[in-house]
Every structure is written in structure tokens, then in C-alpha cells.
Symmetry: C2
Subunit: 358 residues, 2 copies
């Protein structure tokens, strides 16, 4: 069972909820933008389905609806932003804009963020760079669900990396992926369907390989991209670690097992070494390297070469990163966004609390 809503209906609903928790108009709009772009792009796990979770974090006083977000240190090409415990959905676009402004002046800008919260999908922030003919980079750490290679313990989040690269006539290249074999959302889908997980996605509490999609609830862990050592999991572990260090050790946020959890009912970790969740953003002006027209010609050529390469039997085409999400965006902007009945119920309950109808 699922129900269809237009982009604008869901956007104004989310915006109204953010206003009700005390966000100013500008922030409520930005937060709704950040959230809705996930639904539009088909990343259902990171869209309005999470709205009630943000509200619960605000109720638990873990999210500050009226933050004073500020740059606490900077050089011509770098900055550190203190998110003042604000919504990551608002802190992230602020920090990405700082990176873009610096890139306009000195070619590139790099911003590490402390004291933030869950920022939605990484790709939406990285894509802010595209309209400026810049490459955009966004990453974030997240609460620990992933065991490094050989470890029994959950020490890393799914720590995604997004890279958005401008093109000419072709659609831009937008990669946005968790540094694990599979994101948690995919595991949850298998749970709903009562299916087994493929090898290399999860391990048990004691570190044994497992195909039980419910393993995380039993104290198990997600596995880094690669799955096991023989298939390169030490590389996925290194990638997740780099995201953690750039986002949190460089900014003074919490890292490793100390990253605050998204569910408000989960207690905060003890002895936290930093402030909030950490993010990292980068913007690189194409013209700071070579004339953007030349770059775009080559980029279109690159995209065509990969798109039109010979596929293996049964596959239509080689997918350029960002292509499936863009197809979702076009389709859902036109035909609406399908939400699961359980998500609709959840939104209605949040709405009732604040007198906002859906």
C-alpha cells in the first residue's frame, strides 16, 4: 500500500513542520529542500520518511532549531564551520556555500564542519557546485554501524562520499555512495521482504559472515565496501576512515564510535571527544585548472564513451553515476512521489502534533 503526493505538497508540509519546531522561514525552506531532493531522486530512506526522526531529535534537545552557524577558523581556501547543533539539512548548504565562495576567490574551497546533525543525502550538497561550473564534494560521518576489516566492533558509520562534476550537453556526473557494500536502507528492504542478504553485506556479533538481514538488530555489523579482505574490504574500511577523519578529526566533531545516533531513543555515547556530527565539503572551480569549455567537451566525450560501451548480455547500458537518480527526479516531479502507507501514517502523526495537515 502506498500513496502519491506532489513535490509541492510534501515540500510545504515539511517546511511547515520545520517552522513549527522554531526554524526561521529561510532555514525551514532550506531544510525542506534538502529533505525533498532525496525523495525526488529516489533515495526514499533519506527523505520525508526521516522527518519525524528530526522532530524527535529536536524534542530530545539534540537539535537546535535556531542555531547561530558560524565560521570559527579560516584561511583563503579553507574553513571550519560550527553548526551550533543545527539541522544538518541547513548546516550543510551553509558550509558548502562557504566552500563555493572560497573557490571563486582562490580556485578551491574546503570546509570541515563540527557540531552538526544528519545532513540528508550527500549528493544534494555536492550538486550546489554545478551551477557555478565547479566540482562539488560532500561527505559526512554517521553513527557507527560498520566493522573495520578483522574487527568485531562497530566503529564507522556508512560514511558516504558524493562527487558532482559538471558537463556540457550531457547530464552531469553525480556519484553519491555509502562506503559500505550496501547502505542500511537496502538491508531494511530485505527485512520487509523477509529475504536473505547477499554474502559480504553483514557479519554477526562475533564477526562471522552472515546472510541474515536482521543481523544489525542482533549486535552484528555492516561491512565495508569489498565485504571481506579477499574482496578488498580493507579498501572500503580505508575510505570510510578517510571520510571520518576529514569530517570529524579535522573539524573537532565526534569520530569513530562516538558519532551521535540518529534515533533519539538511543543514548548518546559516553566520553565524546568532539562536538556533534562532522561533515566535509569541497568546491573546485573548473576554470582554476583549464578553460571550462575544453573541460566540458572532454567530459561529454568521457560520458559518451562510457555510456555507449558494449554491455554484457542482458544489460541495456552502462550507467553513468547520477543517471538513475535524475530519471527518478524527472518522473517524480511530473507524476508525484509515492510514499509507503507506514510513512504516510508517520507524517500524519507528526502533523497532528503541530496542527499541520498533509
Amino acid at each position: 500500500m502506498s500513496k502519491n503526493f506532489s513535490y509541492s505538497t510534501l515540500h510545504s508540509f515539511a517546511k511547515n513542520i520545520f517552522l513549527k519546531i522554531g526554524c526561521n522561514k529561510k532555514d525551514a525552506t532550506i531544510a525542506a529542500n534538502s529533505l525533498l531532493i532525496a525523495d525526488l531522486r529516489g533515495v526514499d530512506s533519506h527523505g520525508v520518511a526521516r522527518l519525524s526522526g528530526y522532530v524527535r531529535l529536536w524534542e530530545a534537545k539534540r537539535i537546535n532549531a535556531t542555531p547561530h552557524i558560524k565560521i570559527i577558523h579560516e584561511t583563503p581556501s579553507t574553513g571550519v564551520v560550527d553548526g551550533d547543533a543545527g539541522l544538518g539539512l541547513v548546516v550543510a548548504p551553509f558550509a558548502m556555500q562557504v566552500a563555493i565562495d572560497k573557490a571563486k576567490k582562490v580556485g578551491t574551497g574546503w570546509v570541515s564542519v563540527q557540531n552538526s546533525n544528519h545532513f540528508g543525502i550527500a549528493g544534494s550538497h555536492a550538486m550546489m557546485a554545478l551551477q557555478h561550473d565547479m566540482i562539488g564534494i560532500a561527505m559526512t560521518n554517521a553513527s557507527a554501524l560498520v566493522a573495520p576489516t578483522f574487527s568485531m566492533e562497530r566503529l564507522l558509520g556508512t560514511n558516504p562520499i558524493a562527487v558532482a562534476i559538471p558537463s556540457g550537453n550531457k547530464q552531469p556526473f553525480v556519484a553519491d555512495f555509502a562506503t559500505t557494500t550496501a547502505a542500511n536502507g537496502k538491508l531494511e528492504m530485505l527485512q520487509r521482504e523477509n529475504k536473505k542478504a547477499p554474502n559480504g553485506w553483514v557479519q554477526t556479533k562475533t564477526g562471522e559472515p552472515s546472510t541474515d538481514a536482521n543481523e544489525l538488530k542482533k549486535g552484528g555489523a555492516l561491512l565495508p565496501l569489498g565485504g571481506d579482505k579477499e574482496h578488498g574490504s580493507h579498501k572500503g574500511y580505508a575510505l570510510g576512515s578517510i571520510v571520518d577523519i576529514f569530517s570529524a578529526v579535522l573539524s573537532g566533531a565526534n569520530y569513530g564510535p562516538w558519532v551521535p545516533p540518529f534515533p533519539a531513543y538511543v543514548p548518546m555515547p559516553q566520553n565524546m571527544p568532539g562536538k556533534g556530527i562532522g561533515h566535509f565539503f569541497g568546491a573546485m572551480c573548473i576554470d582554476a585548472f583549464r578553460p571550462k569549455e575544453e573541460f566540458k567537451l572532454n567530459m561529454d566525450h568521457w560520458i559518451k564513451t562510457f555510456s555507449f560501451s558494449k554491455t554484457i548480455a542482458g544489460k541495456n547500458k552502462v550507467i553513468i553515476p547520477g543517471e538513475p537518480e535524475r530519471e527518478f527526479e524527472t518522473e517524480r516531479m511530473k507524476n508525484g512521489i509515492l510514499l509507503l502507507e507506514s510513512v504516510v501514517e508517520d507524517l500524519k502523526n507528526v502533523g497532528k502534533k503541530f496542527g499541520v495537515g498533509l
Copy 2:
């Protein structure tokens, strides 16, 4: 059968060969440094075993021993370097130094390189940043051996990424990995031992899964990190693509299937869109984000947390990226570098050609 040589014996042998092909003293020393650090760190496939390959590229006039390496475009935080077809072993340290010098002035430096050749191991260039209390990043594209997810064609190289991060009392974090499930060197080891490759390393000429370690010789391809779609190969493919674009589309080097091959007997690709091989380097000054003393305290804490986490049965410890290579370095600097008899023969033949004894 293998034979043991001291670091200094192999270093002066390599330096003398580079002098004989026409490098000046400074370049010959730098090239020997870049090459030998691979042998020291246990990456045997990228050390002196490749010396004869570089010589053959010089004989084929694909490597210029007396290049005029120069910055052809720059902004305060960026630069593009033209390697003038020089040894990548020399071009890369030049470009990394440009990145470091820019980071000293404006916080970070980012350099894309065109018209270069094979640069040895990525990690050695990234590590140049460490002595300046900077994070170092190095990547390069390489000739196409890897099929993107769903493709039959080889369109990407093993395109490695290295990230070196300073620490305090602990040894630094140095990740250096190919964006494939396994590097080609590991496949060659299996060939010598007549063993099968694990699932997810290679595919056949028509894109079928294979465990034949000789698949590349039959027109097959290496697979991106993840192996297949179900295990996240689209992420490894995205990573390899990002390396290709940052290294080559941003600089004007060759990308995708047009990257020049390392073996001099392999014909150059037709209709090449750029110049030589491309690299990409970055340097980020820690102090441009937060006081380096604070960063190093947190970094040591991060390393201890991961090192001392509970391991799964049968595993001694969780490995911090760079740890095995550093152990090799200590051991081999003390006890010498063991070379396979075939590599020794190859070096002796190169030596004979130029009247240089080993």
C-alpha cells in the same frame, strides 16, 4: 629462488641506469627514490621490477629523460603541470611539491598533471605532505584494464588513490589502494602459483564472471572494487571514474581507454584526446583547519581506538592503513630487499646494456 640486496645497492643501481638514459643527477636521484620506496614498502610490483619497463619506454621514445616540467596554469590554490613526457617518478614529486607550496600560502593546494608517465606508487607522493604537517593526496589514471559495471569493455585503469594523514606519537595513517577488487600484481602472483582467482576479481571477454587468473590475457577485464552490482561494484566504478576525471579531464591528459600503456610493445591507442597519463595531487595544511597539536591528539586517539578494538577469532589486530607497509620498510631497510631470480636477471640485462653492474 630469490636474492637479497641492500637498499643502497639497488638505489645506486637504479640511479645509474636513470643517469645512463640521460636524466640529470637530481632527476635520477628522485626517480630512484620513487622507485625504491615501493620495494622498501613491500609493493614489489612497482619497484625495481619495473626498471626495465621504464627503459623500454625511453627506447620507444615514449619517455623524455630531459623534460622541461612546468606549471601551465595556476590560481592561488590550484595548478596544472605539464610533465613534458618525463618519468612519472620525477613529474609526480614536482607536482606534489607545487601542491605543498600552495598549501603553505593559502591552506590547500591542488594540482592536476598532464603529459606524464607511470609514477610508481601513489603513497610515496602523498606522504611528501606529512613532514609539513599536511594531509597528502595522490591519484593517477592508468591504461585500461577494468570494465565498468555492466560493460564488456576495458575502460578504466586500476586508478589508485593514496591519502596520507599526519598523527602525533602514533605512526601516520597512509591508505594507498587500487580502485579495483584486487590489483593486477595480485593476479600475477596467482598465475605464477597456478591458482584460481576468487570470485569478483575478473570477468571474461564477454563479461561472464570468472575465476581464471589468466583472464586478462584472454581479453577479459579486472573488476571495480565490489566485484558485481550486488556487492557494490558501481561504487568502485564511480571511484575509478573520479580518479580518471580528476587526473585527466581536469588536466588535459588522456582518459578512459586512451591512457597510454606501460608495456612499450603495446601500440599506443588511436585518436588520443589528451597528452600522456594524468595524475592529481592535493595537500591540506592541518593548521588551516585547527591547531595541529589538537588534531594530532585526536588522530592518535582515533588510531588507538581502531587498533585496540576487539578482533574476530583468529585475527591478531585491526590494521591501520599503512601499517604493513611500514613494517616492511623497517625490516627491509635493515635486512635488505629480496628480489625474485627473474627480476635479478632482468636488472642484470638492463645493466649490461649500459655497462652498469649490479
